[in-house]
Amino acid sequence: MPNVADEVARFPLAKEEAVPRISVIVDGVRHEHDIESRLLLVHYLRDHARKVGTVVGCDTSNCGACTVLLDGQSVKSCSVLAVQADGGEVTTIEGLTADNGSLHPVQQAFHECHALQCGYCTPGMVIAAVDLLANNPDPTEQEIRAGLEGNLCRCTGYQNIVRAVQVAAKASADAAPAQEEVPA
């Protein structure tokens, strides 16, 4: 029977040769790490930045559970190398919530509309919805359905997700004039 400690000690470092060093801002915090070139952004987020709110659901970039914002745009973090995000800024589901803990309007609408059941697709779905509304603040149902086509949900049949995006769009529209009235 191998002794685990000895076995681990045989390999103090997995690789001795130069590995890329990357600098990424994740949810407002700068991270610098030496990483393997092959490290996927989603594994970087989960294992190095400890942002385990972002999850992996497939290995073909179909499901979208891993969706995050990279430099303000939705991307599937399982199909981006961490090294490609070097110098970039990532927003995960964990970075959407305001500092005071209040939910992002999309998160709030997902809650009110029961747009999640098991919750596994939710991080990616919420980020995809945030991206959708950033590009199209007043989408039709068909535009919402097309805009979320890269994110699979097995629980909800999408109905309440679509409704939540509509509710979030309306909430943002209603809130916008009110915000303008607040003195700078």
Partner: protein
């Protein structure tokens, strides 16, 4: 301490957004794969690339030399460490249950069967090392087709199981031969329920942490059934049940696929035991497609007999069902769970049913949302449409002629199951109104008249089902080795909060919210004062978990029962402290008051404190307001409903477009309409998806060709419409809340509704069936075949 206001509004019936959402929406989740423990090793499993072969060599020494690898074992090297994985249901005396080890040692029997395991310091190192394992497989002919598998001369999946036959059972109700004799019309069809991949979006994951000081093991597993896992892995891996704690943390969907006890759970415990450090295994999606159980996969030959006026006389079904390569936890019993459902909501006099299970070199099948009931419902609802067509009747009229009328409940069907309640007339009337049924029929006719390339179809499914698994006595009679009860513990804590411990184990259903609503009403306390605890064999030691739409109708009733015990105990304490006879105390809205003197009283939460300090208890009373209860149901829950689908079929391309879907369900009383609608939406989507999109496809060599989400097609938001849902409410008479199960109704109802709609659209072209999924190619081929052109 909270106080309860007079005129309390009932919690049951409130559309409360879920409390589970807070952490799921913000990424503060506890998926098993999120767990990282000091010294934890990552496991990767070498899987057979071929469907059927004799293992001639598995040499892991190369893997052991790889950087970061701590250990590697072949199946043969671990053979002494474990027993066979569990199979919990023997459906017939002749059933053959072959051994099924966590890793194969002699033969591999499906693509994905485990050959060896590597433990390494990183996920990358473990996966890399798999490529350094030297193995030789002596390939054998793959058994792929169920009917060929039973034919003489077929290769054998298990050498000692002749004709690959796992079991055969049959039953007969009434005199089918006589019904056949008398019938004006005898209609035969073959209906195939294709193989499906459940595809919970969270892949499975297992973490096992050993505690060497006490010889204990803690397992986190993405499972629906932590209690099953504790018992069965204890047996398989040789760890005392009391030394194995199983936790189901956040679980990302199951749909039956996590209602199982898996090889990787046993491998995790055995490696944690051997290596003395925590280990983690997380499935890739490709592995999930290959090795997590599949659903459905059966061929049903159906014969219905009827009179010319539409009176159905009898139904005969011969089905063969694909076990795959091994029997997982419940593999053989799935058709058994559907066997009461063949008569659907109809009255007729005779029913014959036979069922044969067949081994093939494919992934094992097991429970997938509905488990047996969708397959049976598909048969009866499809054949009713075929019969209506044959008789020239409107499909709804044929159903009306044969269904159980509202004043005939309780009604025992020809299959022997009693339905306690129902109102098919009302649900159907509401559904047709919501769809605009008559107008749509007129538009359909107009399109037919002008030979429009895009035809309209209307599909009907007046389904019922039985759920709320299950009365233990029934389970025992049917060959299941466990019971079907559920347990609850309710504690009113001294400071007024209420802890509800349930033995069910949610994975998206929202028990923390809905069970709190149930308990809040039963105790008359505010919803916010109730917390629900679940999913850990240490904190919820008694339970039989979540599947079969059982959580509310069995688990919820255990909670109600425990709350009643608490009220009874508190009432005695209230009477004692108020110095009146217990019969002079009434309980309402969380408060015990003296009859005729309402201002004199105490809240249940005040009494909890009094009971805790125990300074002044009635003679013989124990301190603390806590109660355990176990609910073993007397019978099943029988929801029903009418679902209508409106499709457009492009007869040039074969593309089916679901335009409208109306679901009117009768699930009795509703605890939380928001959650119920969510279950219906998701259930319908899954059933629609079977009808239109999904199919696990194998090639002739037994390779899964739909092995990723690129080829195994799940619908996106862009592929489904918004569904129209409504409810009728005929309270169940079998439980105090009048509730019925809802988790599987949508899936059971929708598949035949969709296929009936597709076939309805194509009737003028002479099409009487389209095999599922009704993909463009299948539709196109059906049209060609009807025209007599080659497929």
């Amino acid at each position: 301490m909270s106080t309860v206001a007079e005129g309390r509004v009932a919690e049951v019936g409130q559309a409360r957004p879920r409390r589970e959402d807070a952490h799921l929406l913000t990424g503060r989740t506890q998926w098993t794969d999120n767990i990282t423990l000091p010294g934890m090793l990552h496991l990767a499993i070498l899987r057979s690339p071929v469907a059927h072969a004799t293992i001639t060599k598995v040499d892991v020494s190369g893997a052991r030399e790889r950087p970061g690898v701590v250990a590697a074992f072949s199946g043969g090297e671990l053979a002494a460490e474990w027993g066979s994985l569990p199979m919990a249901w023997t459906v017939s005396e002749d059933q053959k249950t072959p051994p099924h080890f966590p890793l194969a040692a002699d033969k591999v029997r499906f693509v994905g069967d485990g050959l060896a395991v590597v433990a390494a310091t990183s996920r990358e190192a473990a996966v890399d090392a798999l490529e350094a394992i030297d193995f030789d497989l002596d390939q054998l002919p793959a058994v792929v087709d169920m009917e060929a598998a039973m034919a003489e001369g077929s290769a054998l999946v298990h050498d000692d199981i002749p004709a690959n036959r796992c079991f055969t059972w049959q039953e007969s109700h009434g005199d089918y031969a006589a019904a056949h004799e008398r019938a004006d019309v005898v209609l035969k069809r073959r209906f195939i329920n294709q193989r499906l991949i459940p595809s919970a979006i969270e892949p499975r994951s297992v973490v096992v942490e050993p505690t060497p000081a006490t010889n204990e093991y803690t397992m986190w597993s993405s499972t629906q059934v932590p209690h099953f896992v504790q018992i069965f892995i204890s047996l398989t891996a040789g760890v005392p049940q009391s030394s194995l704690r199983v936790i189901a943390p956040d679980v990302g969907g199951g749909f039956g696929s996590k209602l199982d006890v898996y090889a990787e759970e046993a491998i995790g415990v055995v490696l944690a035991k051997k290596l003395g450090v925590p280990v983690k295994w997380t499935e890739t999606r490709s592995e999930n497609c290959q090795v997590t159980i599949h659903g459905r996969d059966l061929i049903q030959d159906v014969e219905i007999t009827a009179m010319r006026d539409g009176t159905v006389l009898g139904l005969k079904v011969d089905l063969i069902t694909n076990m795959g390569a091994y029997l997982q936890l419940l593999t053989p019993c799935i058709p058994l769970l559907g066997r009461y459902m063949y008569p659907g909501i109809y009255k007729f006099e005779a029913h014959d049913l036979s069922c044969t299970g067949v081994f093939t070199n494919k992934t094992p099948t097991d429970a997938y949302r509905g488990a047996g009931r969708p397959e049976a419902t598909y048969v009866i609802e499809r054949i009713m449409d075929e019969l209506a067509n044959e008789l020239g009747m409107e499909p709804l009229d044929l159903r009306r002629k044969n269904w159980i009328e509202r004043d005939e409940f309780p009604y025992t069907t020809v299959a022997g199951l009693e339905y306690d309640s129902g109102d098919y007339e009302k649900a159907t009337a509401r559904a047709t109104e919501l769809l605009g049924y008559d107008d749509l029929r007129r538009e359909q006719q107009a399109r037919r008249d002008r030979n429009d390339p895009v035809q309209i179809g209307i599909g009907v499914s007046t389904y019922t089902e039985m759920c709320g698994l299950a009365p233990s006595r029934w389970l025992g009679r049917e060959g299941y080795i466990a019971g079907g009860w559920e347990a609850a513990t309710v504690r009113v804590l001294p400071l007024g909060k209420v802890e509800v411990v349930t033995g069910t184990s949610p994975h998206g259903q929202g028990h923390e919210t809905t069970f709190a609503q149930v308990a809040a009403d039963a105790l008359g306390v505010p919803y916010d004062d109730v917390v629900v605890v679940h999913g850990d064999t240490r904190t919820a030691p008694l339970g039989l978990d979540t599947y079969g739409s059982r959580s509310l109708v069995v688990g919820g009733m255990a909670i109600v029962k425990a709350c009643e015990k608490i009220v009874e105990k508190a009432q005695a304490l209230a009477a004692h402290q108020l110095e009146v006879d217990v019969r002079d105390v009434e309980f309402a809205a969380g408060r015990f008051s003296v009859l005729g003197s309402a201002e004199q009283g105490k809240s249940i939460q005040e009494l909890a404190f009094a009971s805790f300090v125990a300074h002044d208890l009635p003679a013989g009373a124990d301190p603390i307001l806590t109660a355990d209860a176990v609910m073993d149901p007397d019978t099943f829950s029988v929801p029903h409903g009418t679902h209508l689908a409106h499709v457009e079929v492009d007869t040039e391309t074969g593309k089916v477009d679901l335009k409208q879907y109306v679901a009117v369900d009768d699930i009795g009383k509703v605890v939380n309409p928001l959650v119920v609608d969510g279950q219906i939406h998701g259930g319908v989507a899954q059933g629609v998806s079977q009808a239109l999109f999904e199919e696990a496809v194998y090639d002739d060599d037994g390779n899964l060709t739909s092995g990723t989400f690129v080829d195994y097609l799940l619908p996106t938001s862009a592929d489904l419409p918004s569904f129209t849902t409504d409810r009728t409410e005929t309270p169940s008479t079998t439980n105090p809340l009048g509730v019925k199960g809802v988790g599987e109704t949508g899936t059971i109802a929708s598949t035949p509704a969709i296929v009936n709609a597709v076939v309805d659209a194509l009737r003028p072209l002479g099409v009487n069936d389209v095999p599922m999924p009704c993909s463009p190619m299948h539709v196109w081929q059906a049209i060609r075949a009807a025209k007599g052109e080659p497929r």
